[in-house]
């Protein structure tokens, strides 16, 4: 896996900035070569991941740092080489308890517990890591084989 940084965003944990990140992600996914539904879906995943950081990690505090780093990556190893968009989200909140990272069952009608589902449904890779005092969420979405450059 080799990365080629395209864009890095640094923001505070203020929900008013969510639309700003979506504005950037909508365009970045388009430029990257994803289809319109894929663009919406990757943008949604990043938005939901940021929402979770703001709500669960920073518990509503508005001035905490978040970083979103977007890179072009190649998946080797398998017979076909595939190009993907990797998005690394980092925060300085307390360590996330992996046992809590579970959405609710989808066959109930009740509010909440949907964000992680949306993220997992959108992305090919979803990995949580604790690294140098930071939570790091790594999301990757690969281009369809026909769109590979």
């Amino acid at each position: 896996m080799s990365g080629d940084l395209l864009l890095k965003l640094e923001l505070r944990s203020n929900p008013n900035l969510l639309s700003v990140v979506r504005g950037a992600m909508e365009r970045l996914t388009e430029v990257f070569g994803f289809s319109a539904p894929e663009c919406r879906s990757v943008t949604r995943a990043v938005d939901e991941a940021l929402t979770n950081i703001m709500r669960h990690c920073y518990r509503g505090k508005l001035d905490q740092p978040i970083e979103v780093a977007c890179s072009r990556v190649q998946r080797r190893g398998s017979a076909v080489r595939r190009t993907g968009l990797e998005i690394l989200l980092s925060d300085r909140g307390p360590a996330v308890d992996p046992a809590k990272l579970r959405g609710r069952r989808l066959d109930e009608i009740k509010p909440g517990g949907l964000g992680l589902h949306f993220i997992r449904q959108s992305m090919d890779t979803v990995e949580f890591k604790r690294l140098r005092g930071m939570n790091q969420l790594r999301l990757v979405k690969y281009l369809q084989p026909s769109k590979q450059d």
Partner: protein, 110 residues
């Protein structure tokens, strides 16, 4: 995001402009619950024609509206879903749970 209310006979129509996300879903929730629980409006309609995006907290607010209206024995209707709004309800397996119409005319006639 801007939300405003219109009254047509016994129906309240909420016109929402802009994305619904964590920054404003509490405001949507409050407006909905007030209209359903306090004002006891028999039919509440959400005009989502000008809403491009709804996040999971927005979906949660709509679900709260739906539950409140079921409790109150009233109706809660959505119309004008954008592709992203439709997708988010589909992913939540809620598209068939909500009463969804294409446009205002159909929502009012229903």
């Amino acid at each position: 995001m801007q939300i405003s209310a219109r009254r047509v006979d016994k129906t309240t129509i909420f016109d929402v402009i802009g994305d619904i996300d964590l920054a404003n879903s509490p405001q949507i929730r409050k407006a909905l619950l007030h209209e359903i629980r306090e004002a006891r409006t028999p039919k509440v309609v959400m005009n989502l024609t000008k809403v491009r995006y709804i996040d999971s907290s927005g979906v949660a607010s709509l679900v709260e509206g739906l539950k409140a209206s079921r409790d109150a024995g009233s109706r809660f209707i959505l119309f004008g879903l954008s592709p992203a709004a439709r997708e988010v309800l589909q992913l939540s397996r809620l598209l068939k749970i909500f009463e969804v119409h294409d446009n205002e005319e159909q929502a009012l006639a229903s």
